[in-house]
Symmetry: C2
Subunit: 259 residues, 2 copies
Amino acid sequence: MRLSFIGIEDVPMIEPGDDLAQIISDAVLAMGEALQADDVIVIAQKVISKAENRYLDLRSVTPSADAVALGLEVDKDPRKVQAILDESNEVVRKRQGVLIVEHRLGFVQANAGIDQSNIAHEDDADDSLCLLLPVDPDASAERIRVFIKQCHGVDVGVIINDSLGRAWRNGSLGLAIGVAGFTALEDYVGKTDIYGRELKVTLVAAADEMAAGASLVMGQTSEKTPVVLVRGYQPKEPEDQALRGVRPLIRPKAMDLFR
Amino acid sequence: MRLSFIGIEDVPMIEPGDDLAQIISDAVLAMGEALQADDVIVIAQKVISKAENRYLDLRSVTPSADAVALGLEVDKDPRKVQAILDESNEVVRKRQGVLIVEHRLGFVQANAGIDQSNIAHEDDADDSLCLLLPVDPDASAERIRVFIKQCHGVDVGVIINDSLGRAWRNGSLGLAIGVAGFTALEDYVGKTDIYGRELKVTLVAAADEMAAGASLVMGQTSEKTPVVLVRGYQPKEPEDQALRGVRPLIRPKAMDLFR
């Protein structure tokens, strides 16, 4: 197998209301590439959130007494703390400057994925502009998949990725936060190893592996190259509705050894 | 940027004592590819361990009283428990059938990375043959890098990867356990975002992102495609000795929020 991770050039700055599916489609065509049925399109969370106008101005946030207390405890702007709490199911860990939470979408991550870099700051002298995760990244991915199908007649896969930290390793890693058109979690149950013996570990986080590789091509300032075309994977939509989207990658709290 | 992940075909079954650097080099040439200075070679841990004869026959293991007790507690072969303890600094979590440990190399992972699939079992009716991680994966990677340099005159990067589980997500993910010839943890400190503002999150686990993408090409039975050539990355050896190898990716226990 050979996979090509192709950074899509000249994607314009994305503004609220932009038709991202059309923009991505145009940018791919402008590179002389035609979308194919073995393509997966990986899109940085940041541009999805911008197109969906997920900006939050901290000046509009009134922190609760809890947020003020927690902000003092971890030395963090109480309005930012409030924004994090509003996006989260629970605080998992806290320390100076950082809150590890379970995001309402189920992801365990720092600061609920709320970002203050790579966003416009014309009128933003006190760093008050933030960007939240998309409301429903699977739905965002599915809309783009459907648009590509309608305009180009091909069934591509779509991943929305974001850079997340890890518990035991340094450095961020690109992971999938939204998936459409293929199986995020590959299950090899019943398959055999090269000696014909049944595999014991059978679940592979295929969407995360692809999201990570794409993240390397995007680089740190992912808005410069917010879209990566992964060619050669041959994505297949799972028939079972429950296996679609990013949900199968998320471990339920009851199965969590670390909470 | 465009990265190609090329699965190297026809790598033979690896046996203890095999010269893996020569075998990989031959297999790349047999595909009509010449190694280039912008290549990173990703090699599955399993074939490194086999070449280095890291087999362990559980029939040769006498479990301690502690291993017997722990085996009863988690319902696991006490000889396997002993093998895990022998490879580990500490047990981090335990549950039915699984021990999460800090491996002596610093990785927090299930069962110390000891594997019983994809290994030969001619004389192994009771599943007693295991494969341990390499003694020093950075050194294994460096030996292959030096060989390529000597034979082909090019400075490639080398990653040894393995599939690891995660705390909060389902499915295994390919990660780097040994690195040579490039910077595993990219530090963007002092760099600015697209609006000229200094980046706050600056550390990117580049070697893990590459290891993950390569893992997707290897597939579940990684011995069929145990070597993936990543083309287009332009690896650079860090000048500072302390930044070489996989070590910068490993978070010290003192910085760990979950132990």
